[in-house]
């Protein structure tokens, strides 16, 4: 059974990072990711590793939870690293074996790419580990608000994300149940070629679709009964307000941006 899955893998704890306004965190992560792609030298990497290390300590989330996120993209990381090792043209040959050439440049680039990907995942994990999904959707809604004038349905998008997050565990559980029920009737989801496998999904997907439609129908009714009418005259229990802490964070973020710029200009 696949229940008890942690969506967004929020790790509850009392820390300044947890307490920050999710909007500030979201902007911070965007800055961090941009910085990752701006730097290339050792100094840049060292500075970023130092910064993220400090933030992780501050967040009180055990480091192994960050690594969990890495496990999911292990394959992509390996692929990138291997690709870079074998296909980077370079001068300083280290090893040649028939058509395979491994050069020093290749090794360095592969290492950098791997490190960059790892830092990318660790940084965004820090956001999802310290911010509950609902805070995250709230932040998105708020940040997209200016786009409303351009006709972007910010509230609706955020509501859809909330509902999607809410129903992932429910549907996973349901899929597990239907799969078992059809297996009990002799269905086979594992063997056969692509066509047979695709066909074998029909007994799984049709009931899942039907039940999703039924759920959507009932949910719409329940929302209506609770006076939902879109973004008309709606308030929120948790208002997003910038606190002293957030001001400090914004200050640090500005310094971070300045440092990255300086490293890029002077150290390359």
């Amino acid at each position: 059974m696949i229940t008890n899955i942690a969506i967004g893998q929020y790790y509850p704890a009392e820390s300044p990072i947890h307490a920050m306004d999710p909007r500030v965190k979201l902007i911070g992560v965007i800055m961090y990711i941009s910085a990752l792609f701006m730097i290339s030298g050792i100094a840049g990497y060292a500075f970023i590793i130092l910064s993220i290390g400090a933030l992780i300590r501050l967040s009180r989330v055990p480091f192994r939870f960050m690594l969990k996120g890495l496990r999911g993209i292990m394959f992509i990381m390996l692929f990138t690293v291997v690709l870079n090792i074998f296909f980077t043209p370079g001068e300083k040959l280290i090893l040649q074996f028939y058509f395979i050439r491994i050069t020093q440049e290749g090794l360095i680039l592969a290492f950098k790419m791997g490190l960059r990907l790892a830092l990318l995942i660790i940084g965004s994990s820090l956001l999802t580990l310290t911010t509950s999904p609902i805070e995250l959707t709230d932040a998105l809604e708020q940040l997209m608000k200016p786009l409303k004038r351009l006709g972007v349905p910010a509230h609706e998008i955020a509501m859809m994300m909330t509902i999607a997050l809410r129903f992932i565990p429910t549907l996973v559980e349901e899929m597990d149940k239907i799969m078992k029920a059809q297996t009990a009737r002799g269905a086979d989801f594992d063997t056969g070629g692509i066509v047979k496998k695709a066909r074998s999904l029909i007994p799984l997907l049709v009931p899942l679709f039907i039940s999703s439609f039924r759920r959507a129908d009932e949910l719409a009714l329940a929302m209506e009964a609770r006076c939902y009418r879109g973004d008309v005259n709606r308030t929120r229990m948790k208002e997003l307000k910038l606190s002293r802490l957030d001001m400090k964070a914004i200050g640090f973020m500005s310094l971070f941006a300045a440092m990255i710029a300086a490293i890029r200009i002077f150290l390359g």
Partner: protein
């Protein structure tokens, strides 16, 4: 509080050419007046119009004729729509499909947020509402980690936070286990008694309805009966005709009265709702010195050959993670060929995990499951044939229907076995007739069948594989009383006629006691008790500690013994209880 005059409502259905087909009105001239602070239960078989009526009280539906007033607002008046919905909150049947947010307190805040209430005030109301349903400790929990009863209480809190005068609950307990049902009904009763909130409760459980101030019985879009529970339930024949029951105690008294009438003796008062009241009525009329009837002890059929043997079975969910949970703890038991077994245990006791092991759907962490002496997990290639021999009907099996026609859906199992067409056809026909469906449904879409028919078609889908063992996980969940009786009768006939072993998982002690030869009680991943219904249900205290109970008739006999009568053990049905009591009166 809520008033309706001459409500008529029709669902419009569109036929394939796009024209609107007119069908029988779902509501056909309803006059109803519910006073402030009243607790009204609405009963009626499936399709009687109960839910349609409830949706009118919340302006989710508007009457085609007549009018509905809620708290003085006409629901037809668009300007007061939000007033109507705020004053009459609604709780629905499926707990999963009415919780919107991913955190409990956020969900409770949803209603007030929609009403545009000040954030500080929302916070206060959320706290208040969560306290009122005793869920304050779970305010930061994710809904999918709560039990059914807890989810329904969150849904009630979500309505409460809008400060309604009235709460309408549309079968809020249909999908819950007995503990969850009790949680929800206790909460509703408390809100009614202490906060003075008007309650309109739609239910299929007569014992719940008996707690109301007034019962309204609906049939075919009309109000068939209305009155206090005592008045309404004192017409058991009428209730049967309307596809409903009475509480067990009322049923017992009416059965005694049938006998008394034959003997031309004065009848017992019929306005009785609980076993205590029934006993009082009997005691008042009992002849001094008379002793209660004995019952001939049922000889369970002798069965010797094991079909399923379970040896030291242990299973752990999410082994090695933070969510590790031991579901089965060193279970050993045998099931004999041809036996009719009942498994009881509250949610989380491990009974679902246990039955899924029996047809190799879950692989044990340690231990063995043997089918006719063969380890079901030994050979992966043989699993398919093992699953065919041990048919498993899941809870709400109608949710797995997927084919275009009933015939094709029932044929899914036998076709997967690779049987020739002629044989598949024969099996499908036999399976359908075994569940009491006629050939006329074969070419229908399974989604056009009624709720009870869908469930029977789904059971036929398992039966068509002609299993030696048939396991049913709560086959009567969510059905109305008539549907429940029909399914159980079909299962009894299958066991009798098809010569198969049947394992029935149920929350209803009456169902189990009436049908099975042997009961297995699961608790905390272990087999807590096993034996004939007589043996198991004599351990009342142990059962209660596990969150279970004995059948009501057994409690009655227990109380009779406490009063000094020599009432026998092993009395579970109202018929048996009647035979025990009759000698006292005649």
């Amino acid at each position: 509080m809520v008033k309706g005059t001459g409500i008529v409502f029709k669902y419009s259905e569109y036929s394939e050419d796009g024209s609107e087909a007119q069908n029988r009105p779902a509501l056909d001239g309803i006059d109803i007046n519910i006073k402030k602070g009243e607790f009204v239960a609405i009963l009626g078989r499936n399709g009687s119009g109960k839910s349609t009526l409830a949706k009118h009280f919340n302006a989710l539906l508007l009457p085609a004729e007549g009018a509905v007033w809620v708290n003085g607002f006409n629901t037809m008046d668009e300007g007061s729509l939000w007033n109507v919905r705020q004053s009459a909150g609604m709780v629905f049947q499926n707990p999963d499909n009415q919780i919107i947010a991913t955190v409990v307190e956020e969900d409770v805040a949803f209603g007030p947020e929609n009403l545009g209430i000040d954030p500080k005030e929302i916070r206060r109301r959320v706290e208040e509402a969560l306290n009122a349903v005793q869920m304050a400790d779970h305010r930061r929990s994710a809904p999918h980690n709560l039990s059914g009863g807890q989810k329904q209480r969150v849904a009630i809190a979500g309505v409460l936070a809008m400060r309604p005068n009235c709460i309408i609950l549309d079968e809020p307990t249909a999908m819950l286990d007995p503990l969850g049902r009790k949680e929800v009904i206790d909460t509703v009763m408390r809100l009614n008694r202490e906060e003075g909130i008007t309650i309109i409760l739609i239910t299929h459980f007569m014992e719940e309805a008996a707690k109301a101030d007034r019962i309204v019985v609906m049939d075919e879009g009309r109000i068939a009966m209305s009155g206090t529970p005592r008045e309404v339930f004192s017409h058991p024949m009428n209730m049967k005709r309307l596809g409903l029951d009475a509480p067990q105690a009322t049923e017992l008294v009416s059965e005694i009265n049938v006998e008394l009438e034959k003997l031309e003796l004065p009848l017992l008062p019929i306005d009785i709702l609980t076993m205590d009241e029934a006993l009082e009525a009997v005691a008042a009329r009992a002849k001094p010195g008379a002793s209660p009837g004995r019952r001939a002890p049922k000889e369970p059929p002798k069965r010797s050959e094991n079909i399923i043997e379970i040896k030291n079975l242990t299973f752990i969910y999410n082994e090695g993670t933070a969510f590790e949970k031991k579901a089965l703890d060193d279970i050993s038991l045998n099931i004999k060929k041809g036996e009719f077994i009942g498994i009881i245990g509250h949610t989380g006791s491990g009974k679902s995990t246990l039955i899924q092991h029996m047809n190799a759907l879950i692989k044990p962490v340690s231990g063995q499951v043997l089918l006719d002496g063969e380890d079901v997990f030994a050979d992966k290639g043989r699993m398919k044939s093992i699953r065919q021999r041990v048919g498993l009907v899941f809870q709400y099996p109608e949710h797995q229907l997927f084919e275009m026609t009933v015939f094709k859906d029932v044929a899914f199992g036998p076709s997967n076995m690779g049987l020739p067409d002629a044989q598949v056809k024969e099996r499908v026909e036999r399976a359908l007739s075994a569940v009491g469906l006629g050939e006329d449904v074969c070419e229908k879409s399974p989604f056009d069948l009624s709720g009870g028919q869908k469930r029977r078609a789904a059971i036929a889908g398992v039966l068509a594989m002609q299993p030696d063992v048939l396991i049913l996980d709560e086959p009567t969940a969510g059905l109305d009383p008539k549907g429940r009786d029909e399914i159980l009768e079909q299962i009894r006939l299958m066991h009798e006629n098809l010569n198969i072993t049947v394992i029935l998982v149920s929350h209803s002690m009456e169902e189990i006691a009436a049908h099975v030869e042997r009961v297995i009680v699961a608790n905390k991943g272990k087999v807590a008790l096993t034996g004939t219904p007589e043996e198991v249900f004599s351990h009342v205290q142990e059962l209660e500690q596990m969150g279970l109970a004995a059948p009501q008739a057994a409690y009655l006999c227990q109380k009779m013994r406490d009063m000094g009568w020599d009432a026998p053990e092993g009395v579970f049905s109202t018929q048996d209880a009647r035979d025990v009591i009759m000698p006292l009166l005649a």
